[in-house]
C-alpha cells in the first residue's frame, strides 16, 4: 500500500506542478485550472493520510484500502471530465451561434454594398 500511496503522491504532485506551469505560461485559464488543482490536492491529501482510506475501506466493506483509493481517483477524474464536457458543450453552442451571426452579418454587409438589401 505504501508504494501505491507514494506513486499517487508523485502523480498528484506532477499534476499540480503541470497545471501551475500551464497557468504561468497562459496555456490554461484560471477558471479551468481549478478543477485540476482541486483533484490534485484531494489525491495528495488521501495519499498522505492513509487513515481515512482505511476508514473508508472498512465502511464500504472493501478489504483492500488501495482499491478504495483507485475508485476515488477514478471518481475524481470522472467528475473533472464531466465538468469539462459541460464546458465544451457550452463553448460549441456559443461557437456555432457566433459563426452563424458572423456569416449573417457578412452576408448583410455584402448585400448592402451591392445594393441588394
Amino acid at each position: 500500500m505504501e508504494r501505491l500511496l507514494l506513486i499517487t503522491t508523485l502523480i498528484a504532485a506532477a499534476l499540480f506542478v503541470t497545471v501551475l506551469v500551464g497557468l504561468r505560461r497562459a496555456h490554461i485559464r484560471v477558471e479551468y485550472s481549478v478543477s485540476w488543482l482541486t483533484a490534485a490536492i484531494i489525491l495528495l491529501v488521501l495519499a498522505q493520510l492513509p487513515e481515512p482510506l482505511r476508514w473508508l475501506a472498512a465502511w464500504t466493506g472493501v478489504q483492500d484500502p488501495p482499491t478504495v483509493l483507485l475508485f476515488l481517483v477514478a471518481g475524481v477524474f470522472l467528475i473533472v471530465f464531466y465538468r469539462f464536457s459541460i464546458i465544451i458543450s457550452h463553448l460549441r453552442d456559443a461557437n456555432i451561434a457566433l459563426a452563424q451571426r458572423v456569416a449573417i452579418l457578412e452576408f448583410r454587409l455584402e448585400n448592402v454594398e451591392d445594393g441588394r438589401l
Binding site: D93, I96, A99, Q100, A103, I104, F107
Partner: protein, 252 residues
C-alpha cells in the same frame, strides 16, 4: 414507386411574389451545385435562392455567385444542422414566409417545389416533407438504410402521434411559424428526424408529399456502415433528449 415529376404548367404565385426562399446547404459541392442552381432558375426564373456554404474548401461559393444566387458563407464547417439553422435564421430575419430546402448534390428534383409549397400552405400545416415512400417502400436506398428508415418509423409513430413514411428526407418546406422555431432551436447533427420532434413538441403539423429522389449528380455519399450505426444511436438518443429536455435550454 418512383414519383413522376409533375409538369410545370405555371410558376407558383408565391414563388413569383418572392415570398419563398429556396435554401440549399452545400459543403464542397463544386461538381454539382452549379447544375442545381441552374435547374431551379430554368424552372422558376430568378427566384430567391440562398446557398449556405458550410466551410467549403473548393469553389462552391464562387460557382453559386457566378450564377447570381446568394451565398451565406460560414466561417468554418458547422455540419448540416448548424448550416441549416444559419439559413433559417437569415430567412426569418429577411422576412420570408416559406422556405423550401433542397440538397446541393442534385438528388432533389426541384420540379416538386411547387407541390411542396402547395402542401405547406394548407391550413394548419407548418411543414411538408418530400417523401420517397408515400405510396411504396421502393426507392434509391441501401438495405441498411431501408432497415433504419423502418426502425425510425416504428420509433417515431407514438412520439409524433401519426405515421411518417420518410423521416430522413432532407426535402423539406416550412412556413414562417416553423421557420421561427427552427431559427431559434434546431438540432445540430442529423437534423431531419429530431426536427420533426422539435415541431411536434409545439403541436405543429406536417404532411408528406410524394417526390422522387435522383442519383447524386457528383461525388458519393460519405455514410459508411459504422457511421450508419452511429447515426441510428445518435438520432434515437437525440429524439429522446428532445422529448425530455427543458425548453429554455434549447432556445439559444
Amino acid at each position: 414507386m418512383t414519383q413522376k415529376a409533375p409538369p410545370l404548367a405555371f410558376v407558383h404565385p408565391l414563388l413569383e411574389a418572392g415570398r419563398v426562399l429556396i435554401l440549399i446547404p452545400a459543403h464542397n459541392e463544386e461538381a454539382a451545385i452549379g447544375a442545381v442552381v441552374d435547374e431551379v432558375y430554368s424552372l422558376f426564373g430568378k427566384i430567391p435562392v440562398l446557398v449556405i456554404d458550410d466551410g467549403s474548401v473548393d469553389s462552391t461559393a464562387a460557382i453559386v455567385k457566378g450564377r447570381g444566387a446568394r451565398v451565406l458563407r460560414l466561417p468554418h464547417h458547422l455540419g448540416l444542422g448548424g448550416a441549416l439553422q444559419a439559413g433559417y435564421r437569415l430567412a426569418f430575419e429577411l422576412g420570408f414566409e416559406y422556405v423550401v430546402r433542397i440538397d446541393g448534390d442534385g438528388q432533389h428534383d426541384p420540379r416538386f417545389i411547387t407541390a411542396m409549397i402547395d402542401a405547406v400552405t394548407q391550413p394548419g400545416v407548418q411543414m411538408a416533407i418530400g417523401s420517397r415512400f408515400v405510396e411504396s417502400d421502393e426507392g434509391h436506398t441501401s438495405l441498411f438504410r431501408g432497415f433504419g428508415i423502418r426502425l425510425f418509423r416504428a420509433f417515431l409513430r407514438p412520439i409524433l402521434g401519426k405515421p411518417v413514411r420518410d423521416p430522413t428526407s432532407g426535402y423539406v418546406a416550412v412556413d414562417r411559424e416553423a421557420l421561427e422555431v427552427f431559427s431559434k432551436s434546431f438540432p445540430l447533427e442529423y437534423p431531419e428526424i429530431e426536427a420533426l420532434v422539435v415541431l411536434r413538441r409545439r403541436a405543429f403539423q406536417f404532411v408528406e408529399v410524394p417526390v422522387s429522389i435522383r442519383p447524386r449528380k457528383a461525388g458519393r455519399s460519405t455514410i459508411t456502415a459504422l457511421k450508419s450505426v452511429y447515426y441510428l444511436v445518435h438520432v434515437m438518443l437525440g429524439v429522446l433528449v428532445n422529448i425530455l429536455i427543458f425548453d429554455r435550454r434549447r432556445w439559444r
